[in-house]
């Protein structure tokens, strides 16, 4: 038939091909029939399916049983269809007992829903989640469950394959890791805290930090370091040479030496001067550091730096103040004794004058001797002024009111080559001071200014007002507040810092021998201090010197004015009790009083004097020294007399009249005669007191 015809048409090669294919088909069938194949592949609507003919999945079973993960197949409802030995071990049950059981038996009730969700969700894809399995031995085992759907025919029931991984060890490891992390974090936190408080401490101490790496020769610094050295912008790390270049040339070698020494000694501590870059000023810095060693070799020097300029300044002021105080004590003591000596000499001269026959020569000698006593007394006065033990007659005055007097004084003092300028304060303030002493102070300053300007120049007297804050006041040893400032500026040669540091010392002078006493500035210093103020000085070589007298402002003006007494001796009558511890002085005083017509009683101390008065003897005037040794000094005696014998007038005398007497209310209406006094002085004082009491 047709087919036969077709066959006839087929050529030989086609025939061979067909024969081969037939043989292939027969061989295939034969092989299947003989069981020489493992599996057959069957095409279907859902793709190619592989059907294993023999126990071809045995290797997989072995693998599954060997592995350290639990393996299960589950029905849609969560019943265990198969599980490996490892899974059985995880849940602590026999494998035989597990098949057919629900896996939910081993889940906590709170996780059952999540597990069902995991089984149902994402059909066709692998998915996983973590659970805690409760084994039948009561242990809770953290696990990861990974689930995949097994592809089967639509008609077949759904099967899920699960791999259960024990997370106990990994959890433990992560716990350990977490604990280690926590420790690390707390250590970091602790370190940061220490660093913070260190930084805070450094900031509070106004200290900068630096670190010199000796290996790379670089210096790293904190911001405060740069501020101290005056670097506005952050500069990269630099080496030791750069560090050294910031110091003034004179100090550089010492700094270099200190740093190289630190490599062996282990520490560096220096206080040297730098050129601050921001304002080119010279500042003192203190550098302290320690050396760090690695294998016995110095590798780093690290430490702090602080600007100690202000501290040094204050220390310098304190040293100066202490020195002046000590010198003041010394000079005050000397002046006191010296006054008594002058008193004896002067009094004796007065008496000699009255008792001996005089020719021209004797008159000249006496006059010369008196002049010597007067000059000695004047010098002594300046010493007392410096030691702040002079008798200040303070009153509230407005310095501007005295300017005219001062101007005349200055014109006369400085000569014609020096021009005098006056500048007044914008607002006249009052200050409590002794106008005569102020005048002396200005005169002393003017003489110094004149001597500083041998070729002429300008002298400027200026009054000003100002307020001192606590810091500035403390630095100058006075109280904070308002001050009247009287300054005298010259355009003279100026002074070096060394000279400025010593100018207030008594007998310190740069003038030629015989030209100055060295007491002028000492008087200014002591006077200002005694008034509750202070003196400061500014001087630049070749430019000039300005001295500022600061006097504390007073609130109101006193109307009191002293009236100059006539300088003629006045004789009188009456009984005067002379109280004086120094026998020579007492004898002189008694003689002078007798010369003036008075009768004299004597006592060597306060107690004897009081006994004498108490005994009822007539005494018209008590003339007593203020400072006496023993239980009762002059002021104590005055107090007793006021209490018991208020009618007896008292005249005080002292070579050592201290401020404390002036402020004593008892002394307010008392007359004080300054040693050394002349017969005239004494007569006037006695008259004044006796007249007042009557």
């Amino acid at each position: 038939m047709n087919r036969h015809f077709e066959l006839a048409d087929i050529d030989h090669s086609q025939l061979t091909e067909l024969q081969d294919r037939l043989r292939e088909a027969e061989e295939t069938l034969e092989a299947i029939r003989n069981g020489e194949v493992d599996a057959v592949v069957v095409g279907g609507p859902s793709g190619q399916q592989v059907y294993t003919l023999e126990n071809a999945d045995r290797p997989y079973r072995v693998l599954i049983e060997q592995m350290q993960e639990g393996a299960v197949t589950l029905s849609d409802e969560g019943f265990i269809l198969y599980c490996n030995q490892r899974f059985a071990a995880l849940v602590g049950a026999d494998r035989e007992a597990l098949i057919g059981e629900s896996i939910e038996l081993f889940l906590s009730s709170t996780e059952v829903f999540a597990f069902r969700h995991l089984m149902a969700s994402g059909r066709g894809t692998g998915r996983s989640a973590e659970f805690i399995l409760r084994s039948s031995t009561g242990l809770w085992v953290p696990v990861n469950v990974s689930i995949a759907d097994l592809k089967v025919d639509a008609q077949m029931p759904n099967v899920l394959c699960g791999v259960v991984t024990d997370l106990t060890h990994s959890r433990e490891r992560s716990h350990e890791l977490a604990a280690a992390n926590m420790r690390l974090a707390s250590e970091i936190e602790e370190r940061r805290r220490v660093e913070d408080s260190l930084q805070l401490a450094l900031d509070a101490a106004d200290m900068g930090h630096w670190d010199l790496d000796l290996v790379s020769n670089t210096v790293t610094r904190s911001t405060r370091y740069d501020t101290i050295f005056g670097y506005a912008n952050t500069v990269r790390a630099w080496g030791l040479p750069m560090l050294l270049s910031q110091f003034v040339p004179e100090d550089r070698d010492a700094v270099r030496e200190a740093f190289s020494l630190a490599e062996s000694s282990g520490a560096v501590e220096i206080e040297k001067r730098i050129h601050r870059l921001s304002d080119n000023s010279i500042r003192w810095v203190q550098i302290m550091g320690r050396t760090f060693y690695l294998n016995g070799k110095a590798v780093r020097i690290s430490g702090v730096v602080s600007d100690v300029t202000d501290r040094r300044h204050i220390e310098e002021q304190l040293r100066q103040a202490q020195k002046m105080e000590a010198i003041g004590q010394l000079t005050g003591g000397i002046a006191h004794d010296f006054n008594n000596l002058l008193m004896v000499i002067g009094g004796s001269l007065d008496m000699l004058d009255q008792r001996i026959e005089k020719d021209d020569k004797i008159v000249r000698y006496l006059a010369a001797a008196r002049l010597g006593v007067a000059r000695g007394a004047k010098l002594n006065q300046q010493l007392l002024a410096f030691s702040r033990r002079q008798d200040l007659r303070t009153e509230a005055i407005c310095v501007e009111d005295l300017i005219d007097t001062f101007e005349n004084l200055l014109d006369r003092a400085v000569g014609e080559t020096v021009k005098v300028k006056i500048e007044k304060a914008p607002e006249p303030w009052y200050c409590r001071t002794d106008p005569h002493q102020l005048e002396t102070a200005i005169l002393n300053l003017a003489i110094n200014a004149r001597d500083a300007m041998p070729q002429g120049g300008t002298l400027t007297l200026k009054t000003d007002t100002g307020r001192l804050d606590t810091k500035a006041a403390t630095a100058n040893g006075v109280g904070a507040g308002d001050y009247v400032i009287v300054s005298l500026a010259d355009t003279g040669v100026g002074m070096t810092a060394d000279v400025v540091g010593r100018v207030f010392e008594p007998f310190f002078t740069t003038k030629e021998v015989g030209k100055g006493t060295g007491l002028g500035l000492s008087q200014v210093y002591g006077f200002a201090r005694q008034c509750g103020g202070f003196v400061s000085i500014e001087s630049r070589l070749g430019i000039g010197t300005t001295v500022f007298i600061h006097l504390p402002r007073a609130i109101r003006a006193d109307a009191a004015k002293t009236v100059a007494a006539p300088a003629v001796e006045v004789k009188g009558k009456g009984i005067v009790l002379v109280v004086e511890d120094d026998g020579d002085v007492r004898a002189v005083a008694s003689s002078l009083l007798e010369n003036l017509g008075y009768s004299v009683l004597e006592a060597g101390n306060g107690s004897d004097a009081l006994k004498l008065i108490d005994s009822g003897k007539r005494v018209d005037l008590v003339f007593t020294d203020v400072i006496m040794p023993g239980a009762m000094n002059g002021m104590d005696l005055v107090r007793e007399i006021k209490a018991k014998h208020a009618k007896i007038p008292v005249l005080l005398t002292s070579g050592y009249t201290a401020q404390r007497i002036a402020v004593d209310e008892l002394a307010h209406d008392l007359q004080l005669l300054r040693k050394p006094y002349t017969q005239v002085d004494l007569s006037l004082a006695v008259q004044t007191v006796m007249n007042k009491s009557t």
């Binding site: 194949v37 057959v40 592989v50």
Partner: protein, 109 residues
């Protein structure tokens, strides 16, 4: 198989594909036999690919594989399938159009 594929292969080069079923002993044997035959008869002129039908069941469709193990000679044409563990060396050589070694002149039966 396309014209391009045929063109890409140098003349006398064999392109073979062996279908197996995972790591069954028969599959392992088939792989062993195949390696030996290739080494002895086709040194330097064959390209052998082993396909696990478990991993890639769809790969069986193109070459109409119905059972494993099956060796398929894709090139040179004509296409031939040899079923079984390939332990019958004569049959394999015949299927590959290779004369047994003792007959000499391989490649031209």
């Amino acid at each position: 198989m396309t014209e391009d594929e045929a063109d890409a292969m140098p003349a006398g080069q064999y392109k073979l594909r062996l279908f197996i079923t995972g790591s069954t002993p028969r599959s392992a044997r088939a792989i062993e036999n195949m390696r030996r035959i290739c080494a002895e008869n086709l040194e330097g002129r064959y390209d052998l690919e082993v396909v696990d039908v478990y991993q890639d069941p769809e790969a069986t469709k193109e070459l109409q594989i119905i059972a494993t193990p099956t060796l398929v000679k894709i090139l040179p044409e004509p296409l031939r399938r040899i079923i079984g563990d390939l332990s019958d060396r004569e049959r394999v050589l015949a299927g590959l159009d290779l004369a047994p070694l003792d007959k000499g002149d391989p490649g031209h039966p």
